[in-house]
C-alpha cells in the first residue's frame, strides 16, 4: 500500500565508509506492495478519466431537467433569466445551470462524507495510533475496502493508509467544485459526468469513514446476527437523567458512553440518539438507544425529555440551541462544522464548564475533544436533570382548544407544510374538542415546523400536533438490528450466482432520509413486500429506522421477522449513512469474487458488469439532503438505478431511459462483438415515483438486467407482472419489451402474456453476454 511522509534523520553515523553528519531524507511516498493483482487502467482516476463511461450511460439515460428556479443568482452579473432558451450573462443555459446545481449538491454531499471520514481517521489515529489495523470482518472478509480498491487501486491495511485515500478524495472534490465557478464548464453532459465523479469519490469517502470506525471502535464486523437495539420515542427510562445525541459523527457519543462506563454510571444515565449518530453509538455499545429518524428532533426536544443535548454534525436542526433553551436544556456542540455560535470551551477545565452549564450561565458550549465532551455531558446532565424536572413546552389540551378557537383558518400553515397537510381543518375540529385530526397529521409529519413559522398568530402548531398524537408516540417501542457493516465474502459467494442469473430476483437497497410523503410506514411496507418475495433487502440510515417502526399482529418488527443475512428474504441493516458504501461494495464484490473480474483500479469494467448483470436498485423514499444526492450519484456511475420519493423530484434532474427508442437498448455481445437489442433493462438510472404503489412496481421492473437467464427473467417477470396486476389493476403494457424468448415467459402467466406478445407483434431475441465496452469483446468482427 502506498503511504506518504517518510522522514529519516541521522545526526551522526560512523561507518567504514566515513562519517555522516546531519543527514536528513524526506520521501513523499513509499510503495509497500502486498497486493499482487496488476494495477488496472484507472488508479486514482482524474475528473475526466471515466468520462467515456459516463457518456455511455448519459446517452441512454438522458437528463430530464426540472428547474426549481428560473434564474441564476450565483454571480454579480445576475440575476439572469434563463427561461426557455435564454442564456445568462456568462453564456450558460438552463440545462447547464441545472446540471451545475446538481453538481454543487453532490460536491456538498461528498465533501460532507469525506470531511466526516477525515475527522474520524484523524481522531482514531490520535487515540489508537496510525498503525491500527483495518479489520471489518476478520476471516470472513478478504476484500476489506472494495470501493477504495476499485477506485484507487490500493489495498488499505492500516488507519494510516486511509490518509492517502482521503487526500485523493479531497483533491477531487476541490477540482469538481472549481468547475462550477462562473466561466468554467459549459456543457450540461460534462457537468453530469462530474456529478458521477463526485458520487464515486463520495462512496470512497464513506467507505473510509465506516471501515475506520468499524475496525477501531469494535462495531459489529459484518455480522448477520448483529444485536437488536431499542428504538422509539417511548424507549428510554426518562425518569433518569437523559442525554440526547444528534448527528452523524460518533466520537463525542463514544466519549459519553466511555465516561459512563469508566465511572460506573452506566445504569444511571440514559443515552438516546437521533439520526446516524444513534445508529453508530448502538453499534458501539448496547447501553445506547435510538429515538428515531431526523424528523423526531423537535418532538423530542420540545417534549422536554432530554436533559442535555450533544450535537455533532450533519442533518441537525439549525435552531437546536433555540429550541433547547425553551426547555432549559443545555447544548454541547462537538464539531467544528456546527459550532452554533457557542463559546469554545475545549481548553477550559471541565469543572468550570460544568458549573456554567448547570447554573445556566451559558446556554451551551463548544467542545472539540470527545473525552472532554463525555465528562462534561455526564457530569452536567446528572446535575441539570433534577433542576429541569423534564420541563417541556408541549401544551396541555385545554391550551390547544383555546388556541384553535382563535384560528382563522387562513391556510398559511397548510401552505407552508411540505405535505400539504390539512392543519386548518384539524384546528377547526380541535376547537370543538376533537384532536384526532391533529393526531392523524403526526403520522405523516416530517417535523419541519414550517407551520409554526407561518402561523400569523404564532401558535406552536407542531407542538399542538405532537400533543395530539402523544399517546401513540409514547407507545413507540421497537427493535432494530444494529448496523452490521459490510457483507461477508462468503455471503457474496453464496448469492453471487443466483443474483447474476436472476434467480434471486434482485437486491433492493432502501436507504436515505425521512422526508416521506405519507410517513415512514410506507418504507416498512415496501421492505416487507420485497423480503416476502425473497429479494435481498438492504437498508441504512433513517430508512433503516423507519422500517423498524411497524409491528405485526404478534408485536414483531421486520428485524425480528427476517434474517439479517445477505440472502434471499433478508433485511440487512448495514448501518449509518457512511455504511452505504458497503451496499456498493457488495455489488462490486459480486463482480470480483463471484465473477472473477479484476478489481484493482478497474472501475469501468466492474461498473459495466454491475450495470448489465447485478439486479440491484436503490430506493431513497425520503431523500432530502445533498448527501443523499451524492450517494445516489455514486450508484449511477456504477450503473445502479435509484428511485426517490415524490419530494426527490426537487433534485432538479432525472436520468430517464426511453423504452420507445429501441436504438438506445443495444449492447455488445462480448462473445462476438454483435450489437444485440436487450430491451430497456434497467429502464431508468434516476427517477422519482409519485406513490408507494408506483415505487414497488418500478423497483421490481428495474431489477431486470440483460444478462438474466431465462429462468431468472421469468422469476423477475413474475414479480413485475404480479405486482402490476395487484397495484395497477392490469397487466403491464410493456411486458413484450422484457420477454426475449419463450422460456422467459412465467409459466403461470403464459396464456395472458402470450396474448399480449401476439398483439404487440413480438419477436424472439437472443440473450447476449452483454457489455457496453468494445474492449471487452473477445472476438472482434472484421
Amino acid at each position: 500500500m502506498a503511504r506518504k511522509g517518510v522522514h529519516v534523520k541521522i545526526d551522526e553515523l560512523k561507518s567504514d565508509f566515513g562519517l555522516l553528519k546531519n543527514f536528513e531524507l524526506s520521501v513523499g511516498r513509499v510503495i509497500e506492495e502486498k497486493w499482487t493483482e496488476p494495477m488496472g487502467p484507472t488508479p486514482f482516476p482524474s475528473v475526466i478519466a471515466l468520462r467515456d463511461w459516463d457518456m455511455k450511460l448519459l446517452q441512454r439515460y438522458r437528463p430530464f431537467y426540472l428547474p426549481y428556479c428560473d434564474v441564476c443568482c450565483l454571480c454579480t452579473f445576475g440575476k439572469c433569466d434563463l427561461t426557455q432558451d435564454k442564456r445568462g450573462a456568462c453564456g450558460l443555459n438552463m440545462a447547464s445551470q441545472q446540471s451545475r446545481i446538481v453538481l454543487l449538491a453532490c460536491c456538498i454531499g461528498a465533501a460532507t462524507h469525506i470531511a466526516h471520514g477525515r475527522h474520524l481517521v484523524e481522531h482514531l489515529i490520535e487515540k489508537y495510533g496510525r498503525n491500527s489495523p483495518l479489520d471489518i470482518g476478520g476471516l470472513n472478509i478478504d476484500i476489506e475496502a472494495p470501493v477504495t480498491r476499485l477506485v484507487c487501486g490500493i489495498k488499505p491495511e492500516k488507519l494510516r493508509d486511509l490518509e492517502d485515500v482521503l487526500d485523493y478524495c479531497e483533491e477531487q472534490v476541490t477540482r469538481l467544485l472549481s468547475s462550477t465557478h462562473t466561466g468554467q464548464e459549459g456543457s450540461n453532459l460534462d457537468f453530469e459526468s462530474k456529478v458521477f465523479h463526485a458520487g464515486m469519490v463520495d462512496q470512497v469517502g464513506m467507505e473510509v469513514a465506516d471501515i475506520a470506525q468499524i475496525s477501531v471502535l469494535g462495531f459489529p464486523k459484518a455480522d448477520p446476527e448483529a444485536p437488536l437495539a431499542d428504538l422509539g420515542f417511548g424507549i428510554a427510562d426518562v425518569s433518569k437523567p437523559t442525554i440526547l445525541v444528534i448527528g452523524h459523527n460518533v466520537p463525542s457519543s463514544v466519549g459519553i458512553v466511555d465516561y459512563l462506563t469508566e465511572k460506573g454510571l452506566a445504569g444511571k444515565v440514559e443515552v438516546v440518539g437521533i439520526c446516524c449518530t444513534a445508529h453508530d453509538i448502538t453499534r458501539y455499545n448496547s447501553m445506547a438507544k435510538i429515538v428515531g429518524p431526523i424528523s423526531w428532533q423537535l418532538r423530542y426536544i420540545r417534549s422536554g425529555l432530554a436533559d442535555l443535548i450533544v450535537v455533532d454534525e450533519q442533518c441537525i436542526r439549525a435552531d437546536t440551541l433555540i429550541e433547547a433553551q425553551k426547555v432549559k436544556t443545555p447544548v454541547i456542540a462537538s464539531s467544528e462544522k456546527n459550532c452554533l455560535g457557542l463559546e469554545n470551551r475545549t481548553e477550559t477545565p471541565p469543572e468550570k464548564t460544568i458549573a456554567d452549564l448547570v447554573e445556566n450561565r451559558v446556554p451551551g458550549v463548544l467542545i472539540l475533544d470527545s473525552d472532554k465532551v463525555g465528562e462534561v455531558a455526564v457530569e452536567t446532565v446528572i446535575k441539570v436533570a433534577p433542576k429541569r424536572g423534564k420541563f417541556k413546552i408541549i401544551p396541555e389540551i385545554e391550551k390547544i382548544i383555546e388556541a384553535a378557537k382563535e384560528c382563522t383558518e387562513c391556510n398559511e400553515c397548510r401552505r407552508a407544510c411540505p405535505n400539504d397537510k390539512p392543519i386548518p381543518e384539524a384546528m377547526k375540529a380541535a376547537a370543538k374538542g376533537d384532536l384526532n385530526p391533529l393526531a392523524e397529521i403526526l403520522e405523516s409529519c416530517v417535523g419541519c415546523a414550517r407551520c409554526d413559522s407561518a402561523c400569523p398568530n404564532d401558535f406552536p402548531l407542531h407542538s399542538f400536533i405532537v400533543k395530539a398524537g402523544e399517546e401513540k408516540l409514547w407507545k413507540e417501542k421497537f427493535k432494530m438490528r444494529v448496523g452490521r457493516g459490510a457483507i461477508q465474502d462468503v455471503e457474496i459467494r453464496n448469492v453471487g450466482q443466483p443474483i447474476v442469473l436472476g434467480e434471486i430476483p434482485g437486491v433492493i437497497a432502501i436507504v436515505g432520509c425521512s422526508n416521506y410523503p405519507q410517513g415512514g410506514e410506507e418504507v416498512a411496507e415496501i421492505a416487507e413486500e420485497f423480503a416476502k418475495r425473497r429479494f435481498i433487502v438492504v437498508t441504512s440510515g433513517c430508512a433503516a429506522m423507519s422500517m423498524a417502526m411497524v409491528k405485526d399482529e404478534e408485536g414483531k418488527t421486520l428485524y425480528e421477522k427476517y434474517t439479517g443475512a445477505f440472502d434471499a428474504g433478508g433485511i440487512v441493516n448495514v448501518g449509518s449513512c457512511v455504511s452505504n458504501a458497503h451496499i456498493a461494495g457488495a455489488a462490486i464484490k459480486i463482480a470480483n469474487i463471484f465473477a472473477k473480474r479484476k478489481l484493482r483500479a478497474n472501475y469501468e469494467e466492474i461498473a459495466d458488469y454491475i450495470h448489465n448483470r447485478v439486479g440491484a436498485v436503490g430506493l431513497a423514499w425520503g431523500a432530502y439532503s445533498q448527501k443523499a444526492a451524492a450517494i445516489a450519484s455514486g450508484f449511477w456511475r456504477l450503473g445502479v438505478p435509484v428511485v426517490v420519493g415524490p419530494h426527490g423530484s426537487k433534485y432538479r434532474r432525472m436520468l430517464l431511459g426511453r423504452q420507445d427508442k429501441p436504438e438506445d437498448w443495444y449492447v455488445l455481445d462480448a462473445r462476438t462483438g454483435d450489437k444485440v437489442y436487450v430491451g430497456p433493462a434497467p429502464e431508468h438510472l434516476f427517477t422519482a415515483a409519485e406513490t408507494k404503489e408506483e415505487a414497488i412496481v418500478l423497483l421490481a421492473k428495474l431489477c431486470m438486467r440483460p444478462n438474466d437467464t431465462s429462468k431468472g427473467r421469468a422469476i423477475k417477470l413474475t414479480h413485475y407482472v404480479d405486482l402490476h396486476r395487484r397495484l395497477f389493476g392490469s397487466l403491464p403494457s410493456d411486458i413484450h419489451l422484457f420477454v426475449r424468448n419463450n422460456t422467459d415467459i412465467p409459466i403461470t402467466m403464459r396464456d395472458e402474456v402470450v396474448k399480449v406478445l401476439e398483439e404487440k407483434g413480438w419477436q424472439e431475441q437472443m440473450i447476449p453476454d452483454p457489455t457496453l465496452l468494445p474492449r471487452l469483446v473477445r472476438e472482434k468482427k472484421g
Partner: protein, 186 residues
C-alpha cells in the same frame, strides 16, 4: 381566496415568466377545442376525495369522454380509471413529463407531438417541477393546470380556489366542451 398569481405552497416561487390566471374558464374550453393534439395528465390525488361529493377523477373521465383526448394516468391511478371503465394510458409522471418535453416525440399513438397538455391531481410540488421542465424545454407545448391551486410554471393556471369555485369552473369548461352543465353541490 383571492384571484392572485400566488403559489399555493408559499415558497414555490417562479418567474419572471409565470402562469396566466384562468379567470374565465370558458377560455380553457376554447383552448382545448382549438388545440390540434391535446392530452390530459392525471395524478394519483385525483382519486382522493376533495369533499364528500367531489372526486377529481370524475372530471378527468368526463373531460376525456367529452373531448376524446388521450388521458395519461400517472403512478397507480390507472387502477381507478379501470374501475370507472375509462381507457387511460398508464405512464409515470416523470416519463410523460420527459416525453412531452421532447419535441420529436410522436405521442402515445404515433400521430405527432402534442400542442396542449392539461394537468390535474399530481402532488403540488411534483407538478410544479414537471411544469417547469416543460416551460423551459418543450418547444411547442402549452400547459394548463386544472388543479384547485395556482401552479406558476404552467402556461395557464386556475388561481387558488375553493372547492365550490373549482367545481364550477370545471363544469363551465365541460359545458364549453359540449357536455350538459350539472349543478354544483359541495
Amino acid at each position: 381566496m383571492s384571484a392572485k398569481e400566488e403559489s399555493w405552497q408559499r415558497a414555490e416561487i417562479a418567474g419572471p415568466k409565470k402562469a396566466l390566471l384562468i379567470l374565465k374558464p370558458e377560455v380553457v374550453g376554447a383552448m382545448v377545442k382549438k388545440a390540434k393534439r391535446p392530452i390530459l395528465v392525471v395524478g394519483h390525488l385525483a382519486a382522493e376525495e376533495y369533499s364528500k361529493s367531489v372526486r377529481m377523477i370524475d372530471y378527468a373521465v368526463r373531460i376525456g369522454k367529452a373531448t376524446n383526448m388521450p388521458v395519461v394516468a400517472t403512478a397507480h391511478t390507472v387502477n381507478e380509471f379501470i374501475k370507472e371503465g375509462f381507457p387511460a394510458t398508464s405512464m409515470s409522471a416523470m416519463d410523460i413529463g420527459s416525453r412531452l418535453a421532447d419535441s420529436e416525440w410522436k405521442g402515445l399513438d404515433g400521430g405527432g407531438s402534442y400542442d396542449l397538455a392539461l394537468f390535474m391531481g399530481l402532488p403540488y410540488y411534483m407538478e410544479f417541477v414537471i411544469l417547469s421542465g416543460l416551460k423551459h424545454f418543450s418547444t411547442n407545448l402549452k400547459t394548463i393546470s386544472l388543479d384547485r391551486f395556482y401552479n406558476p410554471h404552467a402556461s395557464w393556471s386556475f388561481p387558488n380556489l375553493s372547492v365550490k369555485d373549482w367545481k364550477e369552473n370545471l363544469e363551465t369548461i365541460l359545458a364549453k366542451l359540449g357536455e350538459d352543465r350539472k349543478d354544483v353541490n359541495v
